[in-house]
Symmetry: D2
Subunit: 433 residues, 4 copies
């Protein structure tokens, strides 16, 4: 079996209308062929063989499956907000309409709910006027919702609307939904391309080195950490405590820590930290330096909290609030020592994800969107556009939704946060999982 093989709707027999070249050396940007693939692993080892698997390279194909002039496309955005969603919508439309010549692009309203005509609002026709300034706005102009809908109902709707390609912007729940749609489409023998654009503020989707919105989230998170540091230094024995998004993975906390360089303790879901050890280390720090900054991911230390059994509509567990928990524990600890501390708690919550995308995320959103269009035009389906080794690649959705990306506690990023914070390992060094 070829690993990471991409499903296709059939033979691409139409010529792409894009003004690109296939010749090297003519100074004209090239179409992408299937002959070049992207290595999954970029390391080579002197003491063991490398992983030689490779991923399909994304990009415009010279031959495409659909006749653009007769295509109808649809875009849907699901789940939580993320800086860049509107940029993805806009670039999908522009690439479809202005570059390929697709005449009809529908915006599905309110996530998958909008594919269920009994419950959702009808789609909106996307126009040049509609998308004109949306790249400067946070959120999603199409609305969103959480939770799955019946694949049968959704494919019925796609067929009734004569949709040829559906772009699903969302996280792992959304991509599972996209997969179910693609399977149902396939079962019916239809020719509807289902292409995912990965969206996760937590940066925890596999085969996506950096997801769109993450860079913007770090920018805002670092701003909040800066405020926490200023507060900590402005008070006597000031403790700035910042809770950041990150349900299962600490990428936001780790990245914002590196961006800030003012964090003394960074607590992420991947570590199984000892509260006693942490408080002792904090006490030592305050005695020595009279202020401290702590960053904690929302999903951290769930073993310390009473088990939360709730789930939200996407099936994500709802977490008890580790930030308020830590605040109370810190206050109680130092009260018991008769040591006066000033805890300043900052919880930016949605602020880091509802803002417009920064420049890096605008670029990334645009690229993911246009590569999604190229993929759909070529008849690729049941796949999403990943970003690996600085290349845009095609990844089968099943490979993506089978796992979550988490911090490698022995890898470069976490090592860097350890060197940047100087935080100790809290004995016993019990490792999670």
């Amino acid at each position: 079996m070829i690993p990471f093989q991409i499903d296709t709707l059939g033979q691409p027999e139409h010529h792409s209308p894009l003004a690109l070249s296939i010749a090297d050396g003519d100074g004209v940007a090239n179409f992408v062929s299937e002959e070049t693939r992207v290595l999954f692993e970029h390391f080579v080892h002197t003491n063991r063989p490398s992983d030689t698997r490779s991923l399909e390279l994304a990009g415009p194909r010279q031959n495409i499956f659909f006749q653009p002039q007769q295509c109808r496309a649809a875009v849907v955005t699901c789940g939580g907000l993320c800086p860049g969603i509107n940029n993805v919508i806009r670039s999908i439309f522009i690439e479809l309409h202005h570059n390929y010549g697709v005449q009809e692009v529908l915006g599905i309203r309110q996530g998958y709910l909008g594919l269920d005509p009994a419950h959702g609002e009808p789609p909106k026709k996307i126009t040049s006027e509609f998308i004109e300034v949306i790249h400067t706005l946070g959120g999603t102009v199409l609305g969103s919702s959480r939770g799955p809908r019946s694949p049968e109902v959704m494919v019925d709707f796609l067929q009734s609307q004569q949709i040829d390609m559906l772009f699903c912007i969302g996280g792992d729940g959304t991509q599972r939904g996209a997969h179910a749609i693609a399977q149902e489409v396939n079962r019916r023998g239809e020719k509807i391309a289902v292409v995912g654009v990965p969206k996760t503020i937590d940066n925890d989707i596999p085969y996506v080195y950096r997801s769109f919105g993450y860079a913007t989230a770090l920018e805002k998170a670092a701003e909040v950490i800066r405020a926490a540091h200023v507060e900590a230094k402005g008070a006597i024995n000031g403790v700035g405590l910042v809770k950041l998004m990150g349900r299962d993975a600490g990428f936001i906390a780790a990245g914002a820590t590196l961006a800030s360089q003012e964090v003394n303790f960074v607590l992420v879901p991947e570590i199984d930290f000892s509260l006693t050890g942490f408080l002792a280390a904090l006490e030592k720090r305050l005695h020595a330096r009279k202020h401290a900054v702590i960053v904690v991911s929302e999903g951290t230390g769930q073993h310390l909290l009473e088990k939360a059994t709730e789930q939200d509509l996407s099936g994500n567990r709802r977490y008890a609030d580790i930030g308020l928990f830590l605040k109370q524990k810190i206050l109680a600890h130092f009260a018991s020592k008769d040591f006066s501390v000033n805890v300043k708690y900052l919880d930016p919550s949605y602020l880091i994800r509802s803002v417009p995308a920064n420049s890096a995320d605008r670029i990334l959103s645009d690229q993911l969107a246009r590569h999604a269009v190229h993929a759909a035009m070529a008849g690729k389906t049941n796949m999403l556009v990943g970003h690996w080794n600085n290349e845009f690649v095609h990844v089968p959705i099943p490979a993506v939704v089978s796992e979550k990306k988490i911090l490698d506690l022995e890898g470069q990023l976490w090592r860097s946060t350890q060197l940047a914070t100087g935080q100790p390992r809290w004995p016993p060094a019990k490792i999670k999982g």
Copy 2:
């Protein structure tokens, strides 16, 4: 009795070293004389007489009380953080040192605590290198603390350090402390000028039209409201709920509402709102428009919460959390109606006050600081620098600390927020106080 009369240490007999003029028409900026004052009221009424009281105009005097070369000055920053404190410190130093030629300026550490040598850290000599970049930083490089200290102890310290002028940057608690110091100085027959620079993120100090930091706080608060609006629109029946600073006065909430133009309900401490009426109005709004944005000042609706009896070290009452309270009430209300809503709660807390000052606040901080120096140099004492009718003025501290400035519910600012939100009055229109 002359209203708003300013205490002085004695006859100003020295010539100012500033290169200003007293002649009109020579194109050189002028010293300020005592002959021009600023009207307290800027209205004239056809049907009743105007208030003719006036305030002393701030600015550099041609004759000054102190010999700059032999002066020792000190600066202290107290209470909560506010964008612009470092700008005030920096401009006080620059005006004292570079323009007047004062050789010694001490930075008192950790607020009034630093004037109590038994408990605080010793002062730090302020230098050009120390202040070089602090105007770009939030917080206070001198540290801060809350709560009063003994005037006797503090004046002992000032005398031991041969301080001639003390600049007290802080809110009403701080200014009460400054007043106590000035009285103790006066009782001892000393010649130490005590000059206040008003600091309040809440913009609630009388005779100060706009306090430094307020403009920056609005900038950040409006950014958070924008995020709340984006979240509200991105979810089905989304409710963006934002809690903002404002213990006794709703200036931040009202100002940020005007800056945002996306707020549907603004709840401030000055109004005595009906929870039932509010929830009914919110329900109506959601039915009609499917999303809503609510802004609430932290001090709002304390009558609805269990009485909080705690006080912080400055003697400020600690408030129970109206934001979380409202969130719960909204959720409960709509749950009881079987109407699904998505409440997104944003509490920027310290974020709006720990950031660097924006341009408007940097200008204001600089002006307040330099006018404080001019006042101290002229031998003014027991006063602070106010900002009234776009002029900088001298105000006796007792006049300032005798009351708090609150929103006039019948005035222009509140009227504007009402027109911008379209929020109803909740019957019965019970007026607070």
Copy 3:
């Protein structure tokens, strides 16, 4: 004659639909009466009488001239861009439509050109959807143009479109145009209210203490000065030279200087500086401190440049480039002294005016817009909304366009820039004008 008397279209006989009060003490925001006016001068002098002239207070009147339901309004934006124009358009529409109930609001395209159907594009109907996000955007969504059009043609068009009130957002050229329209309307005995909203990035309109966009411009200008300072300090004998907008008035240069606190020389149109003296002072500065920052308004030192005779379409003189001139003179001066300097020239040009409005300008734009609507509704005409002594006022257009506001070289603002820069007066202290 009553000074500053405002023209009206007739007796206001309709009741305002706004839910305001006329009673004091009922906790409900109040309508504004004609009985309270705003003093022009806020000073009182012990040695001479004060100016007792006063301006009409702006605000919603209980009785209005137009029946809102039957009104047709139009908005036009002219001249150069300014942060906040879209905010004014949006708030005019919202106040007209949502608060007063006006059904038809037209957006005139491309400035006064759009009032000339032979040459301009037809107007666009403004809707809630059209204005939804424009408050987050720089520029003007209606387009703009420069230069006058025939009042007869424009009034013909207003009549043909059955416009009852025209809001003219623009600078002195625009207001002169508004005045011509109002006169032509009056000549014809029509009842069309012509209300101006003053727009000037240079902050040089009389009776407008701070014009919208100015605060934002200072924010951006100060950012550029910061960059210039960083460049100056990063090189050997670095000179950061920044040219800022300001054709006839140095308010941007002066304000940005205060906001920056890193400027050593600020050169504005109001001063008649000596190049020789300036270069000598710069040389002294570089010897002493090894870097310098210079800010120059574009209209400065025109006597030094070859006479520019061009005019742009608004009739504004086109200026030769003082920034490049100074750069060359500085380089030549130090080359002649064999003293190596690194001049870093920054000309942000349009960058400071094309950005979205900051919080302060969003508030101001909203207020000016809504007060313009209140004025038009009350039948006021041939006037604009000013901002004086922190109140919104009505000012007759002729009073506004008869002069430009310039820096008072002997007043507080310029004095402050002198104290902040420490720049010398260059002998001979020849005063302009």
Copy 4:
């Protein structure tokens, strides 16, 4: 010969003081071994063999060459400013001092000039206080200069100061200087590690996928393009023309174009565009859409300008101003057609490089700095820290300075800009070089 082999000073015989691990699976971040390398090429081809060269992986080694306690290190910053330089300085110090325990770190002033005691200022000892807030500041706190100095003189100075390791932050000129120093050190048989940190605002250094400062530059550049677009749309036949940095490579122009999505023409040094063709295309665009945005790199179209023979002190050619040239050509072209256009020219110049680093660049700066320290500690020399395939790597300086990275006109980035702008190829499609 092993490609990309790194020079070392000798056997690393000391144990690293860093609290890292060599075991997998213990949950502790790991030291880096020499056994894992980073592939140079990440593609695999079905029709031809891949490049199998690999680069040395950067990171902390378990065994190091220097005894940290007895080390003296020095840092020098050369050439033009770039967002993140201060972040590099700070992280080098923190990693050396706080993590490795190095006691003495000197900051060389004013670039290589500071290594020449006859001409430069003496070095400054870097302390925790000195670097406390510099990560929030643009520029370089150590100063900079351009141009080479004698390697003999510099090595004499390093020996006289007993420097064990020198960190050279700079572009290709600086790295050539570092190479000369390393060679001279080697010739003398000394044990001084010379480690480069690549700095280029233009992102044109080989083996560095994204250089620090580039992301920030894009952020600012995109802001300027946004302003240009707003200006273009605000005027009749408005043309926003933006000149951006980029002497030999168009990465800033291309990246900012993708970030903006509002650019219609992007002109970079790598293309050999036809002025006639460009003007024809612009004319077509203006007729169709009535506004246009053009971005041009400063190094573009030098064949069109009179040959500039000047060089700056670093040996870089000084370019004539393509921005002003284009502005004039556009005005002349449309004047000849009697077609009125409004050209708004924006040249942000230094503004994009003198600002503080954004979050992405702060992270990158920190990582490059700490990896440089690890390399020096391990005794690596004559190398710099690169960033390749998302890993930090060691690259021999000679490999880096032998070429410049330029845009691949047939690769993904340029293809993306073509799809985003829709700009034509101007016949004849003459390819540069």
